[in-house]
């Protein structure tokens, strides 16, 4: 356009003249775009962070129950198991041709309201979250000895534990549980880095430790709630089954810390635990190398669930069917991804509410923007008339109004995006320390871009239509018989 420099100069002076109004409009556009993009982003992030709670696991096998129940129990550690998976079944699953690995997990104990997960050290290599990210230790090392415990990031942060601290686990979930396993105090051997998943809220010990803790109860054949039941005749630990008795043999009064254990009355099992913890364990560890003790000497009688990885994802459904039809006991295999999606749909209200909020914010920001632009258009009819009377081409008038509207919207949008990125950075700084949650900075998804396009489209509409109307009006006293050709060329 031949008058471009004049156009820009006039637009700049016009904006400066109406600076306070323009600043308010920009602020309001920025605020509503910020809320719009922010809510939409949170909605997408909530969904994807939910879906990335667990990855790298092809199947989760548990006693037959609802799919979502099994997911809640095994991944989120919510609820309690109605039945368990016997160690024989774990072995059978492992031996399946397509199964690459199977990691058993056992639930049922807690520490200060955080749940304890008994598993094998392999868990730390196999369990993945997000986009196949592995668990990492921020401090210490995985559990090795019987009395080692690894803490999730949140557990360590909330309870201010460090590597080397000694803690006592409790049976069941309630903090007030009367059954504290003070027969076996644990030492913190490692602390995991934050993941933003339920992993952060758990404590991890070896399956054999779970068995050892419960040895006493089982000997009294007290009921065990939750997952980790120890078979009455548990041959855990005792490397080669020579020592079944020790579970029941008592009174050795192994001086160490037996003083604490009040509940059980008979200051007994500790003998066994200690022996077994300190001697047998090591023995067993040694043998580990030469002997494939896995098959012969189950560390525990039953487990709550088994995480299964396959050689080839194509065989997932075949293995699932095999598990579902397993004759030995009633088992259920779930695909974590599918079950997570089902659970998310169950929680769909949350998403629907966020979506509703996004839509409302979008509409209100659109209406607000349009109202402001329309008001300023009305104000400027006289100005358009003046420009027309001094021979300003129609493109100049239109260009002036468009430049101003688009500049206001663009500055608002840019401010909103910068503010959102800043907010995400700040939130990530806080969240990753506290929760290990990382919000992605990828704020441009399909629906956000669509929203921005709609904002621009309506801005154009709201600017051009009144501009053309004002154009028509300026030609005479409200009449526009022959306006047809006014804007045509």
């Amino acid at each position: 356009m031949q008058h471009l420099s004049a156009l820009l100069s006039v637009a700049a002076q016009s904006l400066r003249y109406r600076l306070s109004g323009v600043a308010l409009t920009v602020a309001s556009v920025a605020l509503s775009v910020f809320v719009l993009l922010g809510v939409e982003h949170v909605r997408q992030e909530a969904r994807s962070s939910f879906a990335s709670t667990i990855s790298g696991v092809d199947l989760i096998v548990g006693a037959r129950t609802g799919e979502i129940n099994l997911l809640l129990l095994s991944v989120f550690r919510i609820g309690s198991a109605t039945a368990n998976v016997s160690w024989e079944s774990v072995e059978e699953i492992r031996e399946q041709a397509n199964v690459a690995w199977a990691v058993p997990i056992s639930l049922g104990d807690s520490h200060r309201n955080f749940r304890v997960l008994g598993t094998t050290p392999e868990f730390f290599q196999r369990y993945k979250y997000g986009s196949k990210q592995s668990l990492e230790l921020s401090d210490g090392k995985p559990f090795q000895a019987l009395a080692d415990v690894v803490l999730g990031a949140r557990v360590a942060a909330d309870l201010l534990y460090q590597v080397g601290d000694s803690i006592v686990l409790s049976h069941g979930m309630a903090d007030t549980s009367f059954t504290h396993h003070d027969n076996l105090p644990f030492t913190v051997s490692g602390i995991l880095t934050a993941t933003g998943t339920p992993i952060d809220n758990a404590l991890f010990v070896g399956l054999d430790s779970i068995a050892a803790m419960h040895a006493d109860e089982s000997s009294h054949s007290t009921q065990t709630q939750g997952g980790a039941e120890v078979a009455p005749q548990d041959h855990h630990e005792d490397e080669h089954g020579h020592e079944h008795e020790h579970g029941h043999e008592d009174e050795h009064a192994h001086d160490d810390e037996h003083d604490h254990e009040h509940e059980h009355g008979h200051a007994d099992e500790h003998a066994h635990d200690d022996e077994h913890g300190h001697e047998d364990e090591h023995g067993h560890d040694d043998e580990h190398g030469h002997e494939d003790e896995r098959h012969e000497h189950p560390p525990i009688g039953t487990v709550t669930a088994v995480l299964v990885g396959l050689n080839d994802a194509i065989t997932t459904l075949r293995v699932k069917r095999w598990v579902d039809e397993y004759a030995g006991e009633a088992l259920l295999a779930i695909l974590p991804g599918v079950a997570l999606t089902q659970l998310w749909e169950l929680l769909g209200n949350v998403e629907a509410i966020l979506l509703g909020i996004s839509v409302l914010v979008f509409l209100s920001s659109l209406l607000g923007l349009n109202a402001m632009l329309l008001a300023s258009m009305r104000e400027r009819r006289g100005e358009i008339q003046v420009l027309r009377s001094i021979g300003a081409p129609s493109m100049f008038v239109l260009g002036l109004l468009l430049i101003e509207s688009l500049l206001i919207v663009t500055i608002g949008v840019v401010l909103a995006i910068l503010a959102l990125l800043l907010a995400i950075a700040v939130a990530n700084g806080l969240l990753s320390e506290e929760l290990g949650l990382m919000i992605s900075s990828q704020i441009f998804n399909e629906s956000n871009v669509l929203a921005l396009v709609l904002i621009y489209a309506t801005t154009l509409l709201v600017t051009v239509v009144p501009a053309l109307q004002a154009y028509g009006v300026s030609k005479g006293v409200g009449g526009n018989v022959s306006v047809g050709n006014t804007s045509a060329d």
Binding site: V10, Q13, S14, Q385, V386, S389, G479, V481, N485, S487
Partner: protein, 232 residues
């Protein structure tokens, strides 16, 4: 410009009909009307007599429903809207009742913007604008003020300068004094005639106020040239 230079009429209307749309009543019906070059004419009409529409047609801001409007020898309806804009910028000066200036531009920039559209912009234009502003008693310290900061009387004087900066051959003026008191009105008119006396410029001055007619030799009532029954 060849035709317009040789033509001896500033304005020629032939069989001009105007209505807002096809179903609306005719607002303006002028079978024939001519204004010679350099003629200064007082067009008196009450509001609703169609005088504003007439002025919009003369300025090329509006085109007639039928008939021919010829300004300075150029048929307005033959021009594209863009060419009409340029023709207006180069050959016509327009002064309205009020609100003649862009409020956020300085006095000088208001004048220079008009010069830009008239494509007379040159190094000398700014000097000429300053001289003209001083000619209508607007001292230099006012030139950089925003137009909105001036009194209405001052604004109307800026409007005259703005209308004359491209040395138009026809000045169209619509009730420029209606917002002024008597003293200011008389001062404004005297100044207008003084400035016009120095140039070859025809003028159509529209007002409802017969008192202003005393400044003019030729006076016309809108009702004399417009046959349409207009609604008051």
């Amino acid at each position: 410009m060849t035709q317009s230079e040789t033509d001896t009429t500033a304005i020629r209307l032939q069989n001009v009909l105007y209505r807002f749309n096809a179903d609306a009543p005719v607002v303006l019906d002028v079978p024939a009307w001519e204004v010679p070059r350099r003629e200064k004419i007082f067009l008196q009409g009450e509001s609703g007599s169609g005088k504003s529409t007439l002025l919009a047609l003369l300025a090329g801001l509006q085109t007639p429903s039928s008939g021919e409007v010829t300004i300075l020898g150029t048929a307005m309806s033959a021009l594209s809207s863009r060419k009409r804009d340029r023709f207006r910028a180069q050959n016509l000066g327009v002064v309205f009742q009020q609100f003649n200036l862009i409020p956020y531009l300085s006095v000088l920039d208001n004048v220079l913007l008009a010069a830009k559209f008239g494509e007379t912009a040159a190094a000398a234009t700014k000097q000429r604008a300053i001289e003209l502003l001083q000619r209508v008693n607007l001292p230099c310290d006012l030139h950089q003020r925003k137009a909105a900061q001036l009194s209405i009387g001052q604004q109307q004087r800026v409007a005259i300068v703005r209308a004359l900066i491209n040395s138009p051959s026809l000045l169209l003026v619509d009730e420029p004094t209606s917002a002024l008191d008597h003293a200011n009105r008389d001062a404004f008119l005297t100044l207008l005639f003084d400035v016009l006396a120095e140039r070859d410029c025809a003028m159509v001055f529209v007002s409802h106020d017969p008192a202003i007619g005393q400044y003019f030799h030729s006076k016309v009532r809108v009702s004399d040239i417009n046959r349409a029954e207009t609604v008051g």
